[in-house]
Amino acid sequence: MDLGYSESETAFRDEVREFLSTKLPQRISSLVKNGKRLTKRDYEEWQAILNEKGWLAPSWPPEWGGASWSAVQKHIFEEECCRAGAPRVLPFGLGMLAPVLIKFGSEQQKSHYLPRILDGTDWWCQGYSEPGAGSDLASLKTKAERRGDHYIVNGQKTWTTLGQYADWIFCLVRTSNEGKRQEGISFLLIDMKTPGIEVRPIILLDGEHEVNEVFFTDVKVPVENLVGEENMGWTYAKYLLTHERTGTAGIGFSNAALEHLKTIASTQMKSGRPLKQDPYFAARMAKVEIDLEAMKTTNLRVLAQADSGAAPGPESSMLKIKGTVIRQEINDLTRRALGPYALPFVSEALDEGYNESPIGPDYANPIAAEYFNNRKLSIFAGSNEIQRGIISKTKLGL
């Protein structure tokens, strides 16, 4: 066994670092590092820079603009991006829709949509969850009825992340009530400008407008917007679960968050000494660091397997659970580290260009909000309970 990166992997890491240090706008990385709000324009600016380098969609096949990276290279890239304070690359078009189109879409769909995803022409959002279909996704009810060369879509999607910016939405819709619930679902691409679509904001517990409800009333969708075959949508959606999962563990985020926590714990004082010297606090920080260090190796072991051809199945679920538990623990410790200064919250201070002096330490404002926001980690993308169910079924045969 060899725990270190190979020579070529180290060279790749250096190349990524060099790129980030010269190409990532300082304005943007300082927003990210200070927990500020990012605008649509910020995301687009960064994604355009990545696209120019050919690194926006590394997982795609080379003929569509991918980079032919190994799983380990993808991991290195994600880790370095987090370290440098790059915004996350929004996954909806690039990581969620594109792999499905590439695998199951028509040639016409591929050549039309993929370049537009890359160059930022189309902003995509995801239409899976419904008010009555959360963890139990297969119970979705949004209906698409075939009328000649169109479908008529009626229903409601929810938790649509950044749907307020979206030009298009990819949806799971019900096209049949026959047989098993999973067998009547189709995968449909819908233009957000179509009449009958209404987007309403959902304000989250931290006061942010991140997600939306999307209502469909007699929305006309051309049949050519169906991906693959009718009633096969569940298969396509599931394909995503075993694809593009290298970032599941969120190692890069946890690394950056732990570094931030350590800085805060060395400036916050308790009984006349830095908080990080308090034995109870130090013990909790050490424990989560030990877990994270082991997690890095667990993650790399899974990636190494993936590189040798084994598609990670339940391993993804294991990484998702442990990765989110660790990240949430770091968020919890960071909130605690602030003591009473975790309480003040000035929403406007999250905007770029806010000029007033901070209340308390300059890093304090976003911390509690981030803690609350990241409670989502164990709920979305298949709640941790759903993941345990998957492990139990596939690994334990139960």
Partner: protein, 368 residues
């Protein structure tokens, strides 16, 4: 990066796995453990002939392994079978020291001919390696030792004792500790041998004006003792991992067969989810041991930090896995007859060897 075992280690693992499967069923293990000796001398010799002891030593010392990966491979298998022969005491603790010093005894240890037990910890030392009150004095050419050593693994069957004693400084000084070879039959050696709760041989030893022969540098034994313990941590964590794997498999098997309320208990979601967590912690344990094994030959602070991380995580995860194994088995796991109980005992008691979770968490913090 490469997480695969090389060809030699795969062979080593497969050979040992097959040997243990055929020759070391749990009934035999319990029999060996309960015997007068506390283990099987015959099995020990067979292990030696198979090259398993030699796998713990590098070529320079006359072995053919000795790296972190070798320790992992061997001890994971030993853990799977709850092997009671003195691998840890003779093979790792004493073996590391003897081979580092270049002692002639190393070859006899590898061949299975000689067993050497490291008598280091004391009633008041807890897990602090520098805490040594046993003292050695030079009288002319000869040395004599006075003091008490506690929970010395493999002591009763040892042909030689490797005893740490203070030759200068005070109780917790890092300098001033020296190692001595002591004959178990020498005058003033009073040994009280016993079996540990999980079935391994150990003893408390009183030394009164006992003649001894210094080994290695005078006053400078601590770094060597620390290295031996680092290797012992990788070994015993791997042993824990092997035992945990088996305890987990037994529990999953039980969940598939045991029926209550008309269904197999594996149908109950609360148990499924807890077992899913067990699987995750097992992988975390393995990863932390891979890290520690990978840094065994690195410089001291890095080595010790990874060892402390592994021991802390293994202790925490081990407790969870052992307690879930007992809980999910229910009443039957409370019996001697159910082998899962012997696995659970061993997993839990490993936390008491070479520093527990709390000790190593504190140490991890100290190491920065």
């Amino acid at each position: 990066m490469d997480f695969d075992l090389n060809e030699d280690r795969r062979m080593l693992r497969d050979t040992l796995e097959k040997f243990l499967r055929e020759r070391y069923p749990i009934e035999k293990r319990l029999e060996y453990s309960k015997s007068e000796q506390g283990y099987s001398t015959k099995m020990w010799q067979e292990f030696a002939d198979l090259g398993i002891i030699g796998a713990l030593f590098d070529e320079e010392a006359g072995g053919f392994g000795g790296q972190g990966d070798d320790l992992m491979v061997v001890f994971e298998q030993l853990g799977r079978a709850l092997v009671v022969e003195p691998f840890l005491s003779t093979g790792i603790l004493s073996g590391t020291i003897l081979s580092a010093i270049g002692s002639d005894l190393t070859a006899d240890v590898i061949s299975g001919q000689t067993q050497v037990s490291l008598a280091h910890s004391e009633p008041a030392s807890r897990y602090d390696l520098a805490h040594v009150t046993t003292s050695a004095e030079q009288q002319g050419e000869a040395w004599i030792i006075n003091g008490q050593k506690s929970v010395v693994l493999g002591a009763a069957s040892a042909d030689k004792l490797l005893v740490s004693a203070r030759t200068s400084g005070t109780t917790e000084d890092e300098d001033g500790i020296t190692l001595f070879l002591v004959e178990p039959i020498a005058s003033g050696v009073e040994m009280r041998a016993y079996s540990t709760i999980d079935g391994y041989g150990a003893a408390d030893i009183m030394l009164t004006n006992t003649p001894a022969k210094p080994l290695g540098e005078i006053n400078q034994a601590l770094p060597l003792i620390e290295l031996a313990h680092a290797r012992a941590i990788v070994a015993v964590c791997s042993q824990c991992l092997g035992a945990c794997e088996v305890a987990k498999d037994m529990t999953v098997e039980y969940m598939h067969t045991r029926k209550q309320f008309g269904v197999i208990i594996g149908k109950f979601q609360v148990l499924q989810h807890r077992m899913a967590d067990v699987l995750i912690e097992l992988e975390q344990m393995r990863s932390s041991i891979i890290n520690a094994a990978g840094f065994l030959d690195d410089h001291r602070d890095l080595r010790e930090k990874h060892c402390s991380a592994a021991k802390n995580l293994t202790g925490r995860a081990g407790r969870q896995i052992a307690e879930e194994a007992i809980q999910i088995h229910g009443g039957i796991a409370m019996t001697w007859e159910a082998s899962v109980s012997h696995y659970a005992k061993h997993i839990i008691m490993i936390d008491h060897l070479f520093g527990d979770t709390d000790h190593h968490l504190e140490r991890y913090i100290e190491l920065g």
